[in-house]
């Protein structure tokens, strides 16, 4: 097992297929237990969509995976890193995990290019030249090469979210987490963001997406997990979850959202 404090090698070694392993994860805010024993594995290159009603703990689960929330009990393994281990340097872990937020959270005090080059220059100590060159490639990839010097304020919601994805990709993560990346967008802009996510899936990026876009989940997901009341109630292939739900809760949930 690699030494987690110094490792910058990939999360997954040859003999591991599950890049994310969640073991009996519990998370409470004060007396309020939000996650009540979540168990799940995500394979390298797999795309997992998490669906579930509001307040069921989807965001909390995602935030636990990159250490934005501390774990109350249980464990999350990212390759060889155990997030329950206090000796693990979370910043080291986060270099491997990109996150995209519902409200973009772009830095308004910087240009688009500066948003993207900040982490590579600060964390990976890349030169400005190298970071900018890579940032421009990423902007090209999300279709915004002409916005490099724009301020986030001047962009549409869809453009902001594509910049946020480029910003996360600039750290060359092995895992990408998306928390309702399209739900703050006007309907006509959802497509451009989903297009970028789809292309990532095709390239084999390991992704966990919390989404309300059931059609997109069905199309892009390898597996769908339905979470309710702090536990994963049901998971399986999209065909199985959407076509043949077994639990009453899932049937009930799908009848409301579909």
């Amino acid at each position: 097992m690699p030494n987690p404090k110094t490792s910058t090698i990939p999360l997954v070694t040859d003999d591991e297929t599950n890049v994310i392993r969640i073991e009996n994860l519990r998370k409470s805010f004060g007396d309020h237990e939000v996650l009540k024993g979540v168990n799940a594995n995500v394979k390298t290159g797999e795309v997992v969509c998490i669906i579930g009603p509001s307040g069921s703990g989807k965001s909390t689960l995602l935030r636990c995976i990159n250490g934005l929330e501390t774990i109350t009990s249980g464990d999350i393994w990212l390759g060889g890193f155990s997030l329950a281990d206090n000796n693990v340097d979370l910043n080291e872990v986060r270099k491997h995990v990109g996150m995209v937020f519902q409200h973009f959270n772009l830095f308004p005090n910087m240009t688009v290019l500066e948003n993207i080059t900040l982490a590579p220059t600060q964390v990976k100590k890349y030169s400005q030249d190298r970071a900018q060159q890579e940032a421009r490639e990423l902007l090209h990839r999300v279709g915004l090469e002409d916005k490099a010097d724009a301020r986030p304020d001047s962009l549409s919601g869809g453009q902001k979210q594509r910049v946020a994805i480029a910003r996360a990709l600039a750290m060359k993560p092995e895992i990408m987490l998306f928390d309702e990346a399209t739900s703050a967008l006007d309907p006509e802009m959802v497509g451009e963001v989903l297009g970028v996510i789809r292309s990532l899936a095709e390239e084999g990026m390991t992704m966990v997406l919390v989404t309300h876009e059931m059609g997109f989940a069905r199309e892009v997901a390898d597996r769908v997990a339905f979470i309710d009341s702090g536990v994963i109630q049901e998971h399986g292939s999209p065909e199985q979850i959407f076509g043949n739900p077994t639990s009453d809760r899932l049937k009930d949930f799908l009848s409301k959202v579909l």
Partner: protein, 486 residues
């Protein structure tokens, strides 16, 4: 990189520019202090005096400290071969400064009373005082009997107050104790008080200058004026004063000084408003320079302290937070003036060493300002969307990097208007320092209207100067803000 250019660098660049602009060597010298007298090699004594006790001490239109006390002291210094440095600071402030050994002696038309003799040692009398009542011309008042049911202005803690309290036993009037003759005159002229009681030479001088009052009673002999030193201290200075006074009285120079101030007939200040403006502007500009300088210095210190305490308030360490909370509570919860008196009069007695008026003034303004700036800093940092720090952390930036690169630049942008506001408040608060005799703008104005009794006009000029200065300062700060916080 733009985000590297923080608000701080702009604040300090601005202040350094401001400072270097005003950093003429003379600017740092206390403008209320001038060394005068005989032998240039002689020992220098620091003499405290009142600010506005014409004709004993006041400033002529050129801004020079003049008056019976001043001329007498200089003549004695000449005669005895020592040097004097005057600090004109207000009567009560001068006495406090004497107790605190901030000055070596006080000459301020001070009556020799038993109470004062317990704390100070007096010279031989150099003037015999008389009190009189004055009222607006044609008021029909001719003595205490006409003041039943009225309000009478007296000078706080002086013989005039003592006399009025005595008269109160037989007559039913109210006493309004004020600090300065000009204030008392304005109070009578504006109808707040029916009459005032003050020393005869002072009122006579004012009438000569066109104060619009008249003497309405027989003078009441009060007793003698003396020069004083702290009890048991500076006895050689006291001895030289007595000897010098004796020499001057014999040579006739003493009488010449008196005649110059209360014997002549000069009539009211004849100048037009424009003339008044022209004569008062030089002294007011000195005041403005001191105002801007003390504000600039204090604001720079307040920014540094405010940032420090603001971050301590945000810290997760309970001790640091406690220190910051206490500091903020103390300095926000107490008046500025209290600290001005404390730092200038109280602290020297605790430390046993005098404190420069610039240090006391800067401490007062900067500690008060720091408490407000700390709250501004804390509030702005906390009002940055927590999602910003989360996004930074999710990109593997450390806590420090996320603070420096993401949160602080946004917080500084948000706090700029409040900081500009704080700067303006500090500039206006600096006028409170006149209470300890700091030569800022309003202090200079007091000096001028104390001598010519054109209070309203001088105050209007001062208000206009403050307005323009603050208007320019705000404009400059907003311009810098737009350039830096795009």
């Amino acid at each position: 990189m733009r985000q590297g250019k923080t608000f701080l660098s702009f604040v300090f660049a601005g202040l350094i520019a401001l400072l270097s602009f005003f950093m003429a060597p003379a600017a740092l010298a206390d403008n209320a202090a001038e060394t005068e007298g005989g032998d240039p090699e002689g020992e220098v004594y620091v003499i405290g005096t009142d600010t506005t006790f014409a004709p004993f001490e006041f400033r002529d239109p050129a801004g020079e400290l003049v008056g019976i006390d001043i001329d007498l002291m200089k003549a004695i210094a000449e005669d005895q071969g020592f040097r004097v440095e005057f600090r004109s600071m207000g009567f009560n402030a001068a006495l406090q400064a004497l107790s605190a050994n901030q000055v070596d002696g006080v000459i301020a038309g001070a009556g020799i009373t038993e109470e004062r003799q317990e704390v100070y040692d007096f010279s031989d009398p150099y003037f015999t005082g008389e009190l009189t009542i004055a009222a607006v011309e044609g008021s029909g008042i001719s003595g205490w009997g006409d003041l039943e049911g009225e309000s009478v202005a007296v000078k706080t803690g002086s013989l005039s107050e003592e006399w009025a309290r005595e008269m109160q036993q037989d007559h039913d009037f109210e006493i309004n104790a004020l600090d300065q003759t000009t204030t008392m005159v304005e109070s009578v002229k504006s109808g707040h008080d029916k009459a005032l009681v003050d020393d005869l030479p002072i009122i006579a001088y004012g009438i000569q200058q066109g104060s619009g009052l008249e003497l309405v009673s027989e003078p009441e002999p009060t007793g003698d004026y003396g020069f004083m030193v702290n009890k048991g201290e500076n006895q050689e200075l006291l001895a030289m004063f007595n000897e010098g006074l004796n020499n001057l009285q014999e040579s006739g120079e003493y009488q010449e000084i008196l005649d110059h101030y209360i014997g002549g007939e000069s009539g009211p200040d004849p100048s037009t408003f424009l003339g008044l403006l022209a004569t008062s502007i030089p002294a007011l500009m000195v005041g403005l320079r001191n105002t801007l300088l003390i504000t600039g210095i204090s604001f720079a210190i307040a920014m540094a302290l405010g940032l420090m305490f603001g971050f301590m308030k945000l810290s997760s360490n309970i001790i640091l937070r406690g220190i910051a909370t206490t500091f903020i509570a103390i300095f926000r919860g107490t008046p500025v003036l209290v600290w001005a008196f404390f730092f200038y009069f109280g602290l020297p007695q605790v430390l046993g060493t005098p404190i420069s008026i610039w240090v006391a003034g800067a401490l007062t303004l900067s500690l008060n300002g720091a408490a407000y700036i700390a709250e501004i800093v804390r509030g702005s940092v906390q009002s940055v969307d927590p999602g910003q720090a989360e996004a930074a952390r999710s990109l593997a930036l450390t806590q420090g990097q996320s603070m420096r690169k993401v949160v602080l630049p946004q917080a500084f942008k948000m706090m700029t208007p409040s900081l500009i506001n704080q700067l303006v408040i500090m500039l206006k608060d600096s006028s409170l320092l006149l209470a300890i005799g700091f030569g800022e703008l309003l202090y200079q104005a007091q000096q001028i209207y104390a001598a010519n009794f054109r209070t309203t006009e001088v105050l209007l000029i001062v208000a206009a100067i403050y307005f323009v200065a603050i208007w320019l300062l705000t404009g400059l700060a907003n311009y810098a803000d737009r350039r830096v916080n795009k």
